[in-house]
Amino acid sequence: MLRYICLRLLLLVPVMLGVSLLVFFLLHLGSTDPALDYLRLSHIPPTDAAIAEVRQTLGLDQPLYAQYLTWLGKAVQLDFGISYLTGRPVLDDLLYYLPATLQLGGLALVCTLVLSVPLGLLAARWQGRWPDHAVRAVTFLGVSMPNFWLAFLLIALFSLWLGWLPPLGRGSAGQLVMPVLAIALMSMSINARLLRASLLEASGQRHVTYARARGLGERQVWRDHILRNAWLPLVTATGMHVGELIGGALVIETIFAWPGVGRFAVSAVLNRDFPVMQCFTLLLTALLMLCNLLVDVCYAWLDPRSRLQGVSA
């Protein structure tokens, strides 16, 4: 198992290199000139002299591969350059805002997992009867709802109408409720549906019949033979949820004035702040790869077949 983890961690390196290469070349092959963007954001008029000077300062007059190597050399030392917009080191800014986003995303993940399990169980256990229909209706609505619209609905209900929760900012527990709910609803619905399908499939398998034949009670059969086996597809799905939840956080943050990486990133996109975009993409790539690794390790731990038969990278 340890070897597997080490192997996967090592594999991260070429992937990150590949992604950084791709990102770098795509950004610099784009239609606009980074020099012009820099001048615009620094409020310096783009005269020819200014452009030439900026190009030299930013090293944009070098051939592309040389630029990449320079960038890579600095990146390894965790120097991702200066933001065109703020003038501050990129990594510092991103790391300053990241924890807030991770807090939202992390809580949303917990919410997703915790709330979807009883729903999925309920629906599978009482398949075809009203709890099943109720859960399916609710999850169907949850999967179809735009999260930013839901956020406003929640604000309208809990802040404006009922006055229970403060709508903006970060700090108190009350301010967490609405953003987390808005982000989590869709993933929760997807997960509940997945669990339901997984449970239904597991309950039709032969070993369940054999367990009943040996005299095991229904509750025990559900706990030890159906639920225990239905977890696996959900573990794989969790990796996907993380990605979607982070994406959701990026959108929702702007609505709740949540000081996270999303608002920062949106302004970077609108202003074409290349260094920030580069670092942002790489940071998220690393984060997601680590999440996927964690998910795969959990899967291997839960499923002896993949552990013992040899795991595929």
């Binding site: 032969r206 034949a213 040996r214 005299g215 095991l216 225990r228 086996n229």
Partner: protein, 256 residues
């Protein structure tokens, strides 16, 4: 009790296309092996499962009164307490993510045996069925063991449950000839030792000849003949029995 009779009367199983098992009566006596034969689709496997009310989805058990020595019973009282089940294709009968030991321990827990006593009983039962590499087998998962070993494991679980009756649904169909012979030897040995009452579902007349005391023949969901095994081989009454015997004898003639 020796000579106890487990009985099901009037078993009816309905599927989407109609009655698949129609008014079937089966009797199991302790110490005796009753073979349930018929060609594919005759409803013998369904009768075996339907007895315990373990039908797959889409099939409904309409009727069927279980009784032990005349005392009416609910299927829940029979499963794992009075009768154990052995299935064909044993690999899919075990939970793929749990090892053999956990299957044994949960079966023993139903009998109230836990802890050190349970571990000891596990070892005893594995020995009794001839699974010698106890540690390795107990720590293995279903995909790691051969079909023959898994069948033995199923018998071991039946022993752990200490049920007086055994329902075996085509237990040898997936096994090679050698494993088959060893399995049947083991079965007969245990029938004698523990006075087991066995319902043996099969389409192989060789198995019937080897093990059975009585034979029940099914055709299209109904019982068409009941006889002692000698009587069946001497003078089969139903056409199904005759067909099965002829097919068996042809094989016998070609490979004496």
């Amino acid at each position: 009790m020796v000579g106890s009779i487990l009985q099901v009367r009037g078993l009816c199983i309905e599927g989407r296309s109609g009655l698949l098992v129609d008014d079937v009566d089966l009797q199991l006596r302790r110490g005796e092996v009753c073979a349930l034969v018929g060609s594919s689709g005759s409803g013998k496997s369904l009768s075996c499962l339907g007895l315990l009310d373990l039908l797959p989805g889409g099939l409904v058990r309409r009727q069927g009164q279980l009784s032990l020595d005349g005392q009416p019973l609910h299927p829940n009282q029979v499963r794992g307490r009075l009768a154990s089940l052995i299935l064909q294709n044993p690999r899919s009968a075990f939970n793929p993510v749990r090892d053999m030991a956990s299957h044994g321990l949960e079966t023993l827990k139903l009998r109230g045996i836990t802890g050190a006593a349970a571990r000891q009983r596990l070892d005893e039962c594995l020995d009794a069925v001839g699974l010698s590499e106890r540690q390795r087998v107990l720590q293995s998962f279903a995909f790691q063991l051969s079909g023959g070993m898994l069948q033995r494991m199923m018998i071991a679980l039946a022993l752990m449950a200490e049920t007086p009756f055994l329902l075996a649904d085509e237990p040898t169909s997936d096994l090679d000839a050698l494993s088959q012979a060893r399995f049947l030897d083991l079965l007969m040995q245990l029938v004698e030792q523990h006075a087991l009452g066995v319902l043996l579902v099969t389409h192989d007349m060789g198995v019937v000849a080897r093990c059975a005391d009585h034979v029940v023949v099914m055709e299209a969901g109904r019982i068409v003949e009941r006889q002692s095994v000698q009587g069946l081989f001497d003078s089969p009454a139903s056409s199904s029995a005759r067909t099965l015997l002829e097919a068996h004898q042809i094989l016998g003639r070609r490979h004496p």
